[in-house]
């Protein structure tokens, strides 16, 4: 046990350490009980030959229920989260996650439903999914929806598979996919997973994709363009209509990364922009919690031309009855088991119910207002990545402080001391030392002001006390961690020897 030293700190905090769970417990201790066993004794050996059986699960903990509760409760407190502070991660849309959605996903009739329950005994679940499909179609302007993909990246993969199936169906196995340099890493990765060659399209100095730039890359080998709109600089692609037209003229399709849909609801529909397929990140736009990294949900929406290829099964509706249908000869097949992340879909649906059409439109408009407001409050001190008007997020570069030796990373770390999570940093790659801020519509003006004040104070610190920044954060559970060491000598699990 370490003796705490005398170090009064700022702010209010708790101070409980917590070792790995493997360091807790005692041989033979338990944290569970099984229901009484009233099944006639049969003898294990008769049912399951001992040679198939493993030794005891050696590295497993042996702890009481109370120890488990304490362990995870303590750990939880070391996280910042959207429920405790502004979490302005650009591109991630960390909005308020309504608590009622959590209760809805836990209704026994939904949470305990086996996926192979006969359709006629799962009409409520099917109806809910069908309604959610309709809502997403309306919001995006697409014709058909598949709720199956488990996250944005799997939605992209699904979308690219659809495009591939479409071209193959037409006997033209095109090889290339155009992707702007500003795109999220999942875009090229997803395209590559489908066997496509990725062709990077340069974006203009204004951060925009120009029809001209796309034109120079476009030929009959191009299967599709993957475009994000608003793009990862938070800018609405001004020439989107010309670009998608041109691709269509060349027989290519347009995949739109819908991760930024929070900027568009009720304002403009991807379906009108020439998108043939789009994924939704329900864990962003539709308020489902990110869970420290999932689960999310990444439904895809398509135009009619791509509908025949959608994953099976699809929801069919006849005579007031919903069924799962597998009969889609052109389908790309399945991308995951069963029907998608149902529990997340329930939450998203509950969110749409709460907001309604007007509420969603209002959300988008307030998200845009908030981003513009922060941009305005900061632009005199931080260098904007571009001067185009922004939508739901704004991006700064490290240009103005490059001379000082301070990096974007230092600013991010120092923000933690001010009680805020850091924005997304070093993305998009096209911006030098990017600082990408997405406040979302659920933050108050007061919080935005405090956050802006913090960033302005930090800018002052860059001049006055640069060393402070380089060593920040100071008020966090741990200080900067040695990431190089972690990668050089990876320790990826506990083992009994390392416990001591």
């Amino acid at each position: 046990m370490k003796t705490p030293t005398r170090t009064p700190g700022p702010g209010k905090r708790t101070m409980l350490n917590e070792p790995l769970i493997s360091a807790r417990g005692s041989v033979g201790r338990v944290g569970y009980a099984l229901p009484r066993d009233d099944i006639p004794e049969r003898g294990q050996a008769r049912d399951l030959p001992v040679e198939l059986c493993r030794e005891a699960l050696d590295d497993f903990p042996e702890v009481s229920e109370g120890e488990v509760v304490r362990h995870f409760t303590r750990l939880s407190q070391w996280n910042m989260s959207a429920a405790t502070t502004l979490y302005p991660l650009g591109s991630c849309t960390m909005k308020y996650n309504p608590v009622v959605n959590e209760y809805m996903a836990r209704l026994p009739g939904l949470a305990q439903l086996h996926p192979l329950t006969p359709d006629d005994q799962a009409q409520g679940a099917l109806m809910l999914l069908a309604e959610l499909e309709r809502c997403l179609a309306e919001i995006s302007g697409m014709d058909a929806i598949s709720l199956q993909p488990a996250a944005g990246a799997q939605g992209e993969l699904t979308g690219m598979k659809l495009i591939r199936a479409y071209h193959q169906d037409r006997g033209t196995a095109r090889k290339k996919v155009l992707i702007p340099a500003s795109a999220h890493g999942t875009n090229p990765a997803s395209a590559a997973l489908c066997g496509y060659d990725v062709v990077q399209v340069a974006t203009g100095s204004d951060g925009m994709l120009s029809a001209d730039a796309v034109a120079t890359c476009t030929d009959t080998e191009v299967a599709a363009l993957m475009v994000t709109n608003p793009n990862t600089l938070g800018l609405f692609e001004r020439e989107i209509l010309q670009i998608t037209d041109m691709l269509h003229q060349h027989g290519a399709l347009v995949y739109m990364d819908g991760a930024n849909l929070n900027a568009l609801m009720g304002v403009a529909k991807p379906g009108h922009m020439g998108a043939d397929v789009i994924q939704f990140n329900l864990h962003k736009t539709f308020s489902t919690p990110h869970g420290g990294g999932g689960p999310g949900a990444g439904p895809v929406g398509v135009k009619n031309i791509l509908a025949p290829y959608l994953p099976i099964p699809r929801i069919a509706h006849k005579n007031d009855t919903y069924t799962w249908s597998d009969t889609a000869p052109k389908s790309i097949g399945r991308v995951r088991s069963f029907y998608g992340n149902f529990g997340i879909l329930v939450r998203a649906y509950a969110y749409i119910l709460a907001m309604g059409g007007d509420g969603l439109t209002h959300a988008t408009r307030m998200a845009i207002l908030n981003a513009n407001y922060l941009r305005k409050r900061l632009e005199s001190v931080y260098t904007l990545a571009t001067h185009e008007p922004c939508m739901h997020e704004c991006v700064f570069s490290d240009r103005s402080f490059q001379q000082t030796g301070i990096k974007t990373l230092d600013i991010a770390k120092r923000l933690l001391d001010y009680g805020f999570y850091a924005p997304t940093i070093y993305f998009p790659l096209v911006v030098s030392g990017a600082l990408m801020i997405e406040p979302t519509e659920t933050e108050t003006k007061e919080t935005l002001d405090e956050f802006a004040d913090a960033l302005l104070a930090i800018a002052q610190e860059i001049t006055d006390q640069p060393d402070l920044l380089k060593q920040a954060p100071f008020t966090t559970p741990v200080s900067r961690l040695d990431e190089t060491r972690a990668a050089r000598r990876p320790v990826l699990r506990w083992s009994r020897s390392s416990d001591s």
């Binding site: 996250a151 999942t186 304002v267 059409g357 990876p490």
Partner: protein, 450 residues
Amino acid sequence: MRYIPHTEHDIQAMLAVLGADSVEDLIRHLPEALRQNAGLDLAPGLAEPEIIQRLTAFAEQQTGYSPERSFLGAGAYPHLVPVVVDQMVQRAEFATAYTPYQPEVSQGTLQVIFEFQSLVASLLGLEVANASMYDGASASAEAVLMAKRILPKRSRILVARSLQPQYRQVIQTYLDGFPGLSLVELGWDETGRLDQEALAQHLDERVCGVAVGYPNVFGVIEDIAAISRSAQDAGALTLSVTPESVALGILKSPGELGADIAVAEGQSLGIPLSYGGPGLGLFACRSRYVRNMPGRLVGETVDQEGRSGFVLTLATREQHIRRERATSNICTNHGLCALAATVFLCLLGKQGLRELALRNVKSSHYLAEVLQQAAGVQPRFPSPFFNECVLTVPRARRVWARLKEQGVIAGIVLEDWYADLRDCLLVCATELHTREAIERFGQQLRQAVV
């Protein structure tokens, strides 16, 4: 609007700073043709009690899902979920955080994932496990792609036909269009295990891996040791796929039997059925393959004062750095489900998971015994199984329908998945199936078969 704080006054104050007259001004730069003025054709927003009412109405339409009357398994399993699991999952600090990009204020999530990796590696008997995949099926597909990355010159993957069909379908979807890799299916023998002759026949230098269910879709426990010996002789990798993780509480671990990559569906470990999702993909491999692994990894390191701490590491495999050359496109994974499984495994611990597995063995074997009392009902395969098994039932489809009318879901009609397996039901029993429920089912089956 209760989720959106701005009052009209707030909005005006902000617009004033922006020098704008209206929010409209902020989107005037959008092409006119795209600006939408009609509004969205969705119902007006609802208050909380109305949402609860609406969704409760949906939820209450579901009937017959209780283990009292349902004997469904086949890739999703009803199990006890200690309420502590859900209580921890509901901790907002876990639920509403993002991927732990800033480790200094994400140590909670990071330590949990580190613990998760440790438990999964131990459960699967391999050296390293990642921070989770979406589900067992997509994890299998990623495992197949990984085998190809490890043995890039090889062009075939052998997949047991007895692997849960949806898993095979997902592997197939991932492979379509993936250059230089094709899937060959291998049948089963009369024991319900992988046909070793077919394996021997196909295992050549073109094969990068053999993927097999453990247990397979029939509940049958494959001989991974034999398969991996053959695979190793041919220079191929063995991929073990477990759709029911509780089985690993008692079965020898895939790693110990020679598997090089092992994946599993972790839904059984504290995650509600939830109509099939979200689940949890477990993924582990030998440490020499770690750089070919998909997905995130958390590693232990130290901070500037030498305190132990955790960070995301070996990220150069990942899409946000490697882009089109990444080991996978996965970004958001199933972190909160990994938390659930971690809490679950800590509660059950060394003793509990084993006891749970044994109880499943017992319940399902009792189920099989009781059901065999019905005329003409027999086990389809004479092999050890875990918690589900295939029974030959005369006129199975009709019997299944008759039972359904009586409120019993007699597993699935296996012909729907395997046209060549006629008159078979796949039934499952776990610790949640009481003796009473099993015996009631047995009695109803006896009446239904005649």
